[in-house]
Symmetry: C2
Subunit: 549 residues, 2 copies
């Protein structure tokens, strides 16, 4: 059996390696347009930021080591320019010699990845304005920074790559401005309140945020860029990074007549097979139904690409026996001293799809509060009001975010519920967690909401309250003095039972504390004392403050 | 409704707090023999080790703060000495005044915890020999260390508490010897190979391990202890810590005529109700069927105690509606710079129960190898040879152990399989993981074993090989030179395809590499080249070496 694989990084190289392991006698030819195979795309921002110092570390395999170990014919600097799906041939061009030739295949794998979007803004094509996708891009950026006197950087786009670049350029000592079209960072994958915590941190770290605006032009004078924003502001910079997303590379798929889909990727069935039975596709270039929403999505993530590669090889060799189940797009990013991560769907996405859901935000310590070094983390979960199915999670904090996210992602992927969160049996000793992990706590709080024992409102809704709303701050007097929500009356939780008579029984009572827990306790006391309409502000003053800062 | 709760720490206090939240008008009386409620038992070793410096941090609540917040009648220094289950009364003794009185209840909760075992060894009852269970114990130990000139400590028992004490006494600068009856640390919850990695680390950190022996007597002369071991050795010490386990406190249960079970705990049904319908019980004192084995087990762990407390309260108020599903006893311990953790069943336990299972050991980086600071961690999983159900997991390493364990525990608890591990969609960015997490890798390797594509033998079985076994070290020549298994021939993996003719086709071929992965690749090459009988040594030379050190 003769296999051709196009693209030799996450998806392609993984397919090839597994193919060899399960089929020692297969003929495997891999075409790679670039100079390198199997490199760590995900490491590129950190190499730019000098966090990864040794360039060689970016190469998990070289063409030679891979060819040797996996007995594969690897043709780097060779671009496939066309696929003849009828004839089962590809046309390849050696980018060094210019030689063009065809190669036949029995089965073909498309793993061409995605192309960074280069927005059509006047002046975008000048030297000093970069995208970050390949090793070559990275080398250009490093060289440009080394050669020029770079002090200020502007990053356009506050998605994962944009944020990593902001972090890493700051690590180099640059003054970084971040321009983002929407009014929050990570707009595609987080809801505003948790994003706001990240924004607070970015500002604290000196990143200048320009949200809710777009670049209208780039102008260069004397090696300096002037970046004009829609809101009228003019930024100056010595280097510009474009990080406004990437789109599946459909060029070959188009030529081969493969079906593409609503999400902009190559359509594959559960066996990673395209509309042509002899052509499979994996990685950034494909779309696949989201396990929770059922809607097609692309996953521009290395984990799915690697896993699809393995499944793809199995299905090519063993005739479509191993279904892929799709990705909930778990993703994470380090932002200076903070980490923010997501899995599944956001409240915003669900709202736009008209799917009913509930939202709960809780905070917890990364490990036992009495053990040194515990740090606060915040978990938002969204879940079904019917059966409690967990639909999505967002976590932000300084430590232990990845752990909680992995647990949440595992439950989401299993189609688990908030009840499963209550039962998660995590490893507890003081350096690692608390007797009830923040993930358990998220489950408990969600159960209370789901069962109607705790009515909540989101911090985003507070501004819609009428002026004369009864708003009770149940924190201590000292906390209240340090800042509160306008119009709030202070009744510390531990006094509440004694001051019931001061509260109106005919009005809705809105409650908040610092993090939400005391608010919940207050709510329980009031409800059981006959106050019918008591609402706790989800995530407490802490979240409200981050959102309103 | 009048509730009495006996014991006011993890299980009792949690029950009381939830009870109040869901039942504002309940009458709640809590009896606690000790001086303190709601304290962090789990923090005690770290307080002894001066890692937690402020004693007040150990108290999550005080009797006063708890009474106030939760409107509960807390009677500290008051011991319940008898229960009259017929009359529904308890007899209580005020330990300060000596006053004895009875109190009636509608429903009673037993949360008395467990008692540390004090082995019946000559000389065990002398001053300077301590158990570690309560704040009082801890105060005694701290005071003893402060008052005396303590240089050497002997810890008896290498379970979780023993290991934490070894770590923390070392942190104080003491020379620590650890005596353990079995031939490994954590004998009840780990299998020998992973325990061996911990043992290596303990030795590196200067802990003197005395495995496979017991203490036969303690003698004190001039403030110094002589500890005689069964193997003839004589240890000297200034302080001795007994950490040979704890047993459910059944004293009151016995008096109340409650049914106790095979595992030595109070029997409860899924609603945490004892054999008497008006008496519930939670925490260390109860036994419950293990979700995987179905056998009753006690869980001497804070997580289950806290969660049971909440469920117990719900069932008392809402008439047995919320089933508890049991604990897989996920547990973890920091050991100097290492962490070791477990969930579910061990291979040893399964073997003793006659349950067929497969074992796989893999190693992986705590995060991307190319990002600074990645550390090796080792995962052992045990799983069903029929359907791949995950039955247990053990993880050891310097970083990221808790995260992997939590994912594994979540899958075990969901009755998930090794296939679920393959699909775990963890959060990946370079500081947090790799595109395929070590947990995915554990799943892949297990699948290969389960499907018969990769036959493995455990490192513990290597010594049973015949002298003339064909043993191939597929590591590089340099690695081979630095140490190998006696009798092994070196054929580096990347030469293997060229040297096939050198290998016997009529004999079993045993293969190993450093970690197992290259051994697996070699195995795939050989099998597909017609060698029928090829076995890879699970966990590679790394694990073999730890086990044989
Ligand atoms: C800066 C950056 C940071 C990232 N960080 C993370 C992260 O932290 N976590 C995460 O999960 N994901 C991250 N990703 C995403 C991740 O790298 C991708 O999802 C993954 O690499 C996709 O794999 P792929 O095989 O589909 O495509 P790629 O890895 O992009 O490989 C496609 C290859 O195909 C080659 N190719 C394309 N067309 C042709 C052709 N016609 N002929 C020959 N060769 C061709 C290309 O040259 C390319 O090398 C990051 C990506 C970038 C760019
Ligand atoms: C040193 C140490 C370290 C630990 N580390 C960890 C860890 O890292 N992770 C983990 O998960 N678990 C750990 N544990 C275990 C954990 O603390 C227990 O599982 C948990 O506290 C059990 O809760 P409980 O309510 O059943 O019992 P306890 O918390 O022990 O509370 C029982 C209380 O009942 C009182 N009592 C008993 N009888 C009577 C009576 N007749 N009248 C009045 N009062 C009575 C006792 O005085 C006691 O205060 C550790 C335990 C110890 C001792
Ligand atoms: C380098 C690359 C080709 C490796 O692919 P791979 O060989 O499939 O992956 P690994 O090296 O992780 O090896 C995994 C294999 O080893 C096996 N394995 C791992 N540890 C093992 C052990 N201790 N014992 C036995 N087998 C083991 C696994 O089961 C798996 O084999 P299988 O798929 O046949 O079951 C591919 O990962 C790659 O190109 N990576 C870089 C590009 C990239 O991912 N970029 C984006 C992220 S930055
Ligand atoms: C102190 C102690 C009594 C607290 O018990 P508790 O009140 O049940 O637990 P917590 O303080 O964690 O609060 C949990 C409650 O707050 C709610 N909550 C937490 N965060 C919330 C938020 N942000 N918004 C709303 N509710 C929140 C939870 O839903 C839960 O309420 P529920 O059970 O009614 O659903 C008990 O944990 C204890 O005694 N601990 C010390 C002893 C111990 O555990 N030792 C062993 C370990 S060292």
């Amino acid at each position: 059996m003769k296999y051709i694989i196009i693209g030799a990084v996450a998806g392609g190289a993984s397919t090839a390696a597994r193919l060899r392991r399960i089929s020692e006698d297969a003929e495997i030819i891999i075409f790679e347009r670039g100079q390198y195979i199997s490199y760590a795309n995900c490491g590129l921002p950190y190499y730019i930021g000098d966090v990864i110092k040794d360039r060689n570390k970016l190469f998990v395999q070289t063409a030679t080591s891979f060819a040797n170990r996996f007995k594969a014919d690897i043709r780097i600097r060779t671009e496939v320019t066309a696929i003849d799906a009828e004839a089962k041939t590809v046309t390849a061009v050696n980018l060094i010699t210019g030689e063009e030739y065809t190669e036949t295949y029995d089965k073909l794998v498309l793993a061409p990845g995605a192309n960074p979007v280069r927005p059509n803004i006047p002046g975008v094509d000048q030297e000093g304005i970069f995208t970050v996708r390949s090793v070559a891009d990275t080398d250009y950026i490093k060289a440009y920074i080394a050669k020029n006197d770079i002090v200020r950087a502007v990053v356009i786009g506050a998605g994962f790559v944009g944020l990593e670049m902001a972090d890493n350029l700051s690590a180099l000592g640059l003054q970084v401005s971040l321009v983002e079209k929407t009014c929050q960072v990570l707009p595609a994958v987080t809801d505003p309140p948790l994003a706001a915590i990240a924004q607070q941190h970015l500002r604290e770290k000196g990143v200048l945020l320009h949200l809710d605006t777009v670049v209208t032009s780039f102008r260069k004078r004397d090696d300096q860029f002037e970046i004009k924003l829609e809101d009228g502001e003019l930024l100056e910079a010595d280097i510009i990074i474009l990080a406004v997303g990437a789109k599946p590379d459909l060029s070959l798929a188009g030529k081969a007549g493969l079906t593409t889909g609503k999400a902009g990727g190559i359509r594959v069935n559960e066996f990673m097979q395209t509309s042509n039975p002899f052509i499979y596709a994996v990685g950034d270039a494909v779309e696949f139904p989201h396990p929770i929403s059922g809607q097609p999505v692309v996953s521009l993530l290395a984990g799915p690409a690697n896993k699809q590669g393995r499944i793809c090889a199995d299905n090519m060799v063993w005739d479509n026996r191993y279904p892929y189940r799709g990705a909930i797009n778990t993703a994470i990013v380090k932002l200076f001293d903070l980490t923010i991560g997501v899995a599944g769907l956001t409240s915003g996405q669900l709202m736009r799809s008209g799917i009913k859901h509930l939202v709960s935000v809780t905070h917890g310590n990364s490990h036992a509060g009495y053990y040194p070094g515990a740090q606060l983390l915040t978990i938002q979960i969204v879940f079904s009001p019917e059966d409690g199915q967990l639909l999505g999670a967002q976590v932000v904090g300084a430590d232990g975010v990845d752990k909680r996210l992995d647990i949440l992602a595992t439950v989401i992927k299993h189609k688990g519920t908030i009840y499963d969160l209550m039962e998660v049996e995590h490893a507890y000793a003081p350096p690692f967690s608390s007797a009830k992990d923040p993930v358990n706590m998220a489950g408990f709080a969600a159960e209370n909401i789901l069962k109607g024992r705790a009515r909540v409102m989101q911090c985003t809704e507070v501004e819609t309250l009428p002026e004369d709303a009864t708003l009770i701050d149940v924190r201590t007097e000292a906390e209240h003095q340090c800042g509160t929500i306008a119009g709030a009356i202070n009744i510390p939780l531990d006094n509440l039972r004694l001051q019931l008579e001061e509260l109106p029984r005919d009005k809705t009572i809105y409650i908040f504390c610092q993090q939400g827990m005391r608010g919940y306790l207050a709510q329980r006391i009031l409800i059981q004392n006959g106050f019918r309409d008591v609402i706790n502000i989800c995530g407490g003053y802490y979240l409200w403050k981050a959102y309103h800062d």
